[in-house]
C-alpha cells in the first residue's frame, strides 16, 4: 500500500463515511481512534523502507498518481504526519465533551487529509488548491446547516480563496525568476504577489480580522480546530516555498518583510487582546500572536529555522485544543462569552477555568508551561537581530498577559461567600486535566518532542544552511 492512500485517502474516506452513515456518539471515538492509529503508523512504519516483521516484509511505497498529479510522502514526512494526526486525534477525542456538532469529526478528518495532501502533492503549487478546498470544507463545520453564515465566516472564505490565485500566479512567476535571476522587477513582482498570497492564507495583519469575528460567531471548538490546522499546514507549505527557491531564502528583503509581518502580528495581536471583553475573541487574538511568532521564526536567518518553527507548532496544537475545549464548556453556561456573563465562573467551573487560564498562560510564555521553551528558543534566535524586534515581541506577549489578568479577574469576581462547585462532567474533567498535564509536561521536558522533530529538518534540505 502507498503512503498517500494510508494518510490521505483512508482518513478522507472514513470522514465521508462518518458524515453520512454513522451515529453521532460513535464518531468522536472512531475518528479519534483512526487519527491515533494513523499517527502511530507513521511513527512506527518508515515510508519507502522495507520493514521485516518475522518472515513478512512490509513496505509502504511513497507515491501515487492521481489525475496526472503525483502525491508523494517520503521517509522524512513520517514524523510530521505522526505529529499532525496525533494532534488531530486529541481534537477528535475531545469533541464529545465539547458538545460540538457531530459532523465535526467527519469534516475534521476530511480537512486533515486534504491538508496532508497539500504537503504531498506534486507540482507543489497545487497545494494552494487543496488548502482552499479544506477552507471550503470548513464552512459546514462552522455554520449550522440552516443558519445564515456570519460576516467573519464569509470573510474567512473570501481571504482563503483570494490566496489561491495569488500563490498560483506567483509560482508561475517564480519559475521565470529562477531562469533569469537578474530580472529585478520580475523578482520584486513575484515576491510581492507571493507575499500577498501567504498574507491572505496565514492571516497576516490586516487580513486576520476574520479570526476574532469567527471566534465570536462560531462554535469555539470548531474555530479553534481551524486556527490550529490551517496555519500549521500553511506554515509547512511556506517553508516548502522557501526551501525550493534559492532566491526566496537568500533575499534579505523578503526575510525582513517576513519578520516585520511577524512582529506586527505579535504586537498588534497582543495589544488588541489586552482590550477585549469577550473571552473567545481573546483566544482569537492569542492565536494571531502565536501565528505571528511562527512567521517571525520563519523569517529568521539562522540555522535553526525548522527546529524553532516546529517547537512552536506542536505546543500550539495542545494549547488551542485545551483552550477551545474549556471555552466550549463555558459557552454552554454563558452563551455570549462576554465578560459580563462569565463573571465569577471560576467557582462554578473550576476545572474549565483553570485549564483555560493555563492554556492562556502557556501562550503568554509563562515558565513551566508548553509555550515557554519555544519562546525561549525564539528569543535566542532573535538575539542576533536588532533589539527592537525582541522588544515588540515582548510587548505583544505583555499584551497577552494583560488580557490574562483581565480574564482571570473576571472569572474570580464571585459574590461574597460563593461556594465552590464542580459542574464539569467526569469526561470533561479528565480531558481538560490531561490537556493541562500535557502543557506542564511539554513545558518542563520539551526534550520529549526531540524524537519527533529530530528528523524534520530533512524535509527542508536547504533551509538553515
Amino acid at each position: 500500500m502507498s503512503a498517500p492512500i494510508i494518510w490521505i485517502a483512508i482518513p478522507f474516506a472514513v470522514g465521508f463515511f462518518l458524515l453520512f452513515f454513522l451515529h453521532k456518539r460513535l464518531s468522536p471515538l472512531i475518528g479519534g481512534a483512526v487519527a491515533a492509529i494513523l499517527s502511530l503508523t507513521a511513527l512506527i512504519f518508515p515510508i519507502d523502507t522495507a520493514l521485516l516483521l518475522g518472515a513478512i516484509s512490509i513496505k509502504i511505497s511513497a507515491s501515487i498518481q492521481f489525475f496526472g498529479r503525483s502525491f508523494a510522502l517520503n521517509t522524512a514526512d513520517g514524523p510530521l504526519i505522526a505529529i499532525v494526526y496525533g494532534l488531530a486525534a486529541l481534537w477528535f477525542f475531545g469533541t464529545e465533551t465539547s458538545g460540538t456538532a457531530n459532523r465535526f469529526v467527519a469534516l475534521g478528518l476530511m480537512i486533515v487529509s486534504l491538508l496532508t495532501a497539500s504537503i504531498a502533492v506534486e507540482p507543489f503549487l497545487f497545494a494552494a488548491l487543496l488548502l482552499d478546498m479544506a477552507a471550503i470544507l470548513a464552512i459546514p463545520l462552522l455554520v449550522p446547516i440552516y443558519q445564515k453564515p456570519g460576516r467573519g465566516i464569509i470573510r474567512f472564505l473570501t481571504y482563503q480563496t483570494l490566496a489561491m490565485p495569488f500563490i498560483l500566479f506567483s509560482g508561475w512567476m517564480l519559475a521565470g525568476v529562477e531562469s533569469s535571476p537578474g530580472a529585478i522587477s520580475a523578482t520584486v513582482q513575484a515576491g510581492t504577489i507571493l507575499g500577498l498570497g501567504f498574507a491572505f492564507l496565514v492571516g497576516i495583519f490586516p487580513f486576520y480580522n476574520w479570526i476574532p469575528m469567527l471566534m465570536e460567531e462560531a462554535a469555539p471548538y470548531a474555530s479553534g480546530f481551524l486556527l490550529w490546522a490551517l496555519p500549521t499546514f500553511t506554515v509547512i507549505f511556506a517553508l516548502g516555498f522557501l526551501d525550493r527557491y534559492v532566491w526566496l531564502r537568500t533575499s534579505p528583503q523578503l526575510s525582513n518583510a517576513i519578520q516585520y509581518a511577524g512582529i506586527f502580528m505579535v504586537a498588534s495581536g497582543g495589544l488588541f487582546a489586552s482590550q477585549q471583553k469577550h473571552i473567545g475573541r481573546i483566544m482569537g487574538y492569542a492565536a494571531i500572536t502565536e501565528t505571528g511568532l511562527l512567521v517571525l521564526a520563519m523569517g529568521g536567518r539562522s540555522a535553526e529555522i525548522v527546529n524553532t518553527v516546529f517547537l512552536l507548532l506542536i505546543p500550539r496544537g495542545l494549547e488551542l485544543a485545551v483552550w477551545a475545549l474549556a471555552l466550549s464548556i463555558l459557552k454552554r453556561r454563558a452563551y455570549s462569552l462576554r465578560f459580563g456573563e462569565v463573571k465569577g465562573l471560576a467557582r462554578k467551573y473550576p476545572i474549565a477555568v483553570s485549564a483555560l487560564i493555563l492554556a492562556h498562560l502557556s501562550m503568554t510564555g509563562f515558565p513551566l508551561l508548553a509555550g515557554f521553551p519555544p519562546r525561549l528558543a525564539l528569543w535566542q534566535e532573535l538575539a542576533g537581530q536588532p533589539i527592537y524586534m525582541s522588544f515588540w515581541v515582548f510587548f505583544g506577549l505583555l499584551g497577552l498577559l494583560v488580557a490574562l489578568a483581565r480574564t482571570l479577574a473576571v472569572f474570580v469576581m464571585a459574590e461574597e461567600n460563593t461556594g465552590w462547585a464542580w459542574n464539569e462532567t467526569w469526561a470533561q474533567s479528565v480531558m481538560l486535566g490531561l490537556g493541562a498535564l500535557g502543557l506542564f509536561v511539554l513545558g518542563i521536558f520539551p526534550q520529549i518532542l526531540q524524537p519527533l522533530i529530530v528528523n524534520l529538518p530533512a524535509l527542508f534540505n536547504h533551509l538553515g544552511l
Binding site: 470573510r155 473570501t158 520584486v188 510581492t192 500577498l196 498574507a199 495583519f205 490586516p206 487580513f207 480580522n209 476574532p212 469575528m213 528583503q253 525582513n256 516585520y260 495589544l271 488588541f272 489586552s274 482590550q275 540555522a303 535553526e304 527546529n307 524553532t308 517547537l311 465569577g344 471560576a346 509563562f366 515558565p367 513551566l368 508551561l369 515557554f372 521553551p373 525561549l376 528558543a377 528569543w379 535566542q380 534566535e381 532573535l382 538575539a383 542576533g384 533589539i387 525582541s390 515582548f394 505583555l398 498577559l401 494583560v402 489578568a405 479577574a409 474570580v412 469576581m413 464571585a414 459574590e415 461567600n417 518542563i444 521536558f445 520539551p446 526534550q447 526531540q450 522533530i453 529530530v454
Partner: protein, 517 residues
C-alpha cells in the same frame, strides 16, 4: 546530587502525607512523618558543607543547538544560607503547627513541605532559566492557594493583580537575559551583561512590591500563620536571591540613584507601617516590603552580601514573629534576638549589610532600619491575642518553643558562619545610630500618639494616595490605547472592513518597498 536529596526529602514527605490523608484520614502519626521529613531535609542541607560548591543538573532540553543552557542548581556560599533558612522555616512551621491543630491538616503540612522544596530549588537556581521555572512554580502555587483562601470580588482581584505583577517581574528577568544574549553573553548569572544588572534589580523589586511600591499580597487571607508564612516568606526570598547575582559593575547607571530613592521610600513606608501595625500578621506585607527594600538598597549600593544578610533576616526574624502564636514570657524575650539580628551591630546576622556606599541615603536607611527594629520589639513583647503556652498539652510545651528557638539559633549561627563575609564587625557607627534611634522609638511609642498602633481595619491594603494617582495615570494611558485599538478593530471588522484592509495592505507594501534598492 545532595540538592536533589534535600528537595526530594521535602517533596516525598509531602507526597507521603497526601497518601496518608487519603488512605488513613485519622492517622495520628501524620504530623510525626511531616516533622521527620522536614528534619531530615534540614540535616541534609548541613551535609552540603562536605562537598560545597557542587552542582546538580536536570536532563538537558533538546535540541541542544537551540537550548544552550541547562536547568542547573548550585550549592555554594550564596545559596547555602538561603537553603538553610528555608528548611529551618519549614521545620519550624511544622513544629509550631501543634498549637494550630484546629486549622491545619495533612494537606496544609504537605503544602508547606512542597513550598519548602520549591523554595530550596529556587534559591539554588544557578541560571535565570532555572530561576524562572522555579518562580513559575511558586507563582502558580500562590495563585491557587490564595484564590482558594480569599473571599469576595475585591480580594480576588488583588490576588490576580499580585500574580500578574509577579509574572511581569519574571518577564523583566527574561528581558534582562535577552539583552544579555544580544550582547553576546550566555543565559547564566556568571556572565550576565552589566547593562542587564538593573533589570535584575527591577525584576526582584517588582515581584516584591518595592519598585514601584505596592503590596503584592492580599492581607485578608485565611491562610495566615503556618502555610501563609511559608508562602509569603519563601516567595519573597526566592525573588531576593536574584540580588545576590547582580553584577556590581552594572550599578554605575544613571538610573541607580532613582532606583535607590524608590527603594528607600519603600523601606521607610514599610518600616513605618510595620511599627504601627496592630499585630504582626497584619503588618507582615509591610515587613516584607521594608526588608526587601533594604535588601535592594544593599544590592544597589554595591553590596550583594548585604542583600543576602537582609534576605535571611527577612525569613528568620520574620518567621519567629509570624509563627509565635503562643504567649510565654521568656520566649517573648527570646524573640528580641531578632532585634539584634537586624541591628547590623558587629557579628550580628546583618553585620555585613552596609558594606556598600550609601552616601546621601544613609540617614534614611538607618531610619527605616530603626523603625523595623522598634516594630520587632513591640510585636515580640505584645501579649494580647496569643494563647498561653501553659494551656497547651504537655508535649506541645516542649515542641512549640523548640521550633521558635530553632529559628533564633539560626539567626545567631548564620551571623557567624553563614557565608563568606559573615562574622564581621561591619559598619558599626550606622549600627549604633540605628540602635539608639530604636531605643528612642521604643521610649516614644507609648508617649507619642502618632507612633501608637492603628486599628486593624485602618490598615489599608493599597498603597498611599500618591501611588493611587500614579496607577490611575497608567489606567488613563491604557484606556487611551484601548480607544485607539478599538477604533482600528471596529474599522477593520465593519462593513467597509475589506476595503480598509486592502488600503492598509497597500500602505504596508509601500513602506516595505521603500527599503528595497
Amino acid at each position: 546530587m545532595l540538592i536533589l536529596v534535600s528537595g526530594l526529602l521535602l517533596f516525598l514527605t509531602a507526597l507521603a502525607l497526601i497518601v496518608l490523608q487519603v488512605t488513613q484520614p485519622n492517622a495520628r502519626y501524620a504530623w510525626l512523618v511531616a516533622v521527620g521529613g522536614a528534619m531530615l531535609a534540614l540535616l541534609s542541607v548541613f551535609f552540603w558543607l562536605v562537598q560545597m560548591p557542587f552542582e546538580f543538573m536536570l536532563p538537558a532540553w533538546k535540541p541542544a543547538s537551540v537550548f544552550l543552557n541547562p536547568i542547573l542548581f548550585q550549592a555554594d556560599q550564596t545559596s547555602f544560607p538561603f537553603a538553610l533558612s528555608i528548611t529551618a522555616l519549614t521545620l519550624t512551621i511544622l513544629l509550631t503547627a501543634i498549637t494550630r491543630s484546629a486549622l491545619t491538616n495533612s494537606f496544609t503540612w504537605a503544602g508547606t513541605l512542597a513550598l519548602g522544596g520549591i523554595g530550596l530549588f529556587s534559591v539554588t537556581a544557578n541560571n535565570p532559566l532555572t530561576l524562572l521555572l522555579m518562580w513559575g512554580a511558586l507563582d502558580l502555587t500562590e495563585l491557587l492557594t490564595q484564590l482558594q483562601a480569599v473571599n469576595g470580588a475585591a480580594n480576588n482581584e488583588k490576588v490576580v493583580i499580585s500574580f500578574s505583577t509577579r509574572a511581569l517581574g519574571s518577564g523583566l528577568l527574561l528581558w534582562a537575559n535577552i539583552l544579555s544574549i544580544a550582547q553576546g553573553n550566555t543565559f547564566d548569572f556568571q556572565s550576565i551583561a552589566p547593562s542587564s544588572g538593573l533589570y535584575l534589580v527591577a525584576a526582584a523589586g517588582l515581584r516584591l512590591g518595592v519598585l514601584p511600591l505596592h503590596l503584592p499580597y492580599a492581607a485578608e487571607s485565611t491562610v495566615r500563620r503556618g502555610m501563609g508564612t511559608a508562602l509569603r516568606l519563601i516567595s519573597a526570598v526566592s525573588s531576593l536571591v536574584l540580588l545576590a547575582h547582580v553584577p556590581v559593575e552594572s550599578l554605575t547607571s544613571t538610573l541607580t540613584p532613582f532606583l535607590l530613592t524608590l527603594a528607600v521610600i519603600a523601606a521607610l513606608y514599610g518600616g513605618w507601617m510595620w511599627l504601627r501595625a496592630p499585630d504582626e500578621l497584619t503588618g507582615r506585607p509591610y515587613w516584607i516590603v521594608s526588608l526587601a527594600a533594604l535588601s535592594i538598597t544593599s544590592a544597589l549600593s554595591g553590596s550583594p552580601l548585604g542583600a543576602i544578610a537582609w534576605s535571611n533576616a527577612l525569613i528568620l526574624v520574620g518567621a519567629t514573629l509570624f509563627l509565635a502564636s503562643v504567649q510565654q514570657v521568656w520566649l517573648n524575650r527570646a524573640l528580641l534576638v531578632g532585634v539584634w539580628s537586624l541591628s547590623t551591630l558587629p557579628f550580628s546576622l546583618t553585620a555585613s549589610a552596609w558594606a556598600g556606599s550609601l552616601g546621601f541615603f544613609l540617614p534614611f536607611v538607618i531610619a527605616a532600619q530603626a523603625l523595623l527594629m522598634a516594630g520587632v520589639t513591640r510585636h515580640a513583647l505584645r501579649s494580647s491575642g496569643r494563647t498561653a503556652l501553659d494551656s497547651q498539652p504537655g508535649w506541645a510545651n516542649k515542641v512549640y518553643p523548640a521550633g521558635i528557638i530553632l529559628l533564633i539559633t539560626f539567626q545567631v549561627l548564620l551571623g557567624f558562619w553563614g557565608w563568606d563575609g559573615a562574622r564581621q564587625v561591619g559598619a558599626w557607627l550606622p549600627a549604633l545610630l540605628a540602635s539608639l534611634l530604636t531605643f528612642g522609638l521604643i521610649w516614644a511609642t507609648p508617649r507619642l500618639r502618632i507612633l501608637n498602633p492603628v486599628r486593624a481595619h485602618w490598615v489599608s491594603n493599597s498603597a498611599d494616595s500618591g501611588l493611587a494617582t500614579f496607577y490611575s495615570g497608567l489606567w488613563i494611558v491604557y484606556r487611551a490605547v484601548g480607544n485607539v485599538s478599538q477604533a482600528i478593530i471596529t474599522t477593520l471588522e465593519g462593513e467597509g472592513g475589506m476595503m480598509w484592509t486592502l488600503l492598509f495592505l497597500a500602505l504596508f507594501i509601500l513602506l516595505l518597498t521603500q527599503g528595497i534598492p
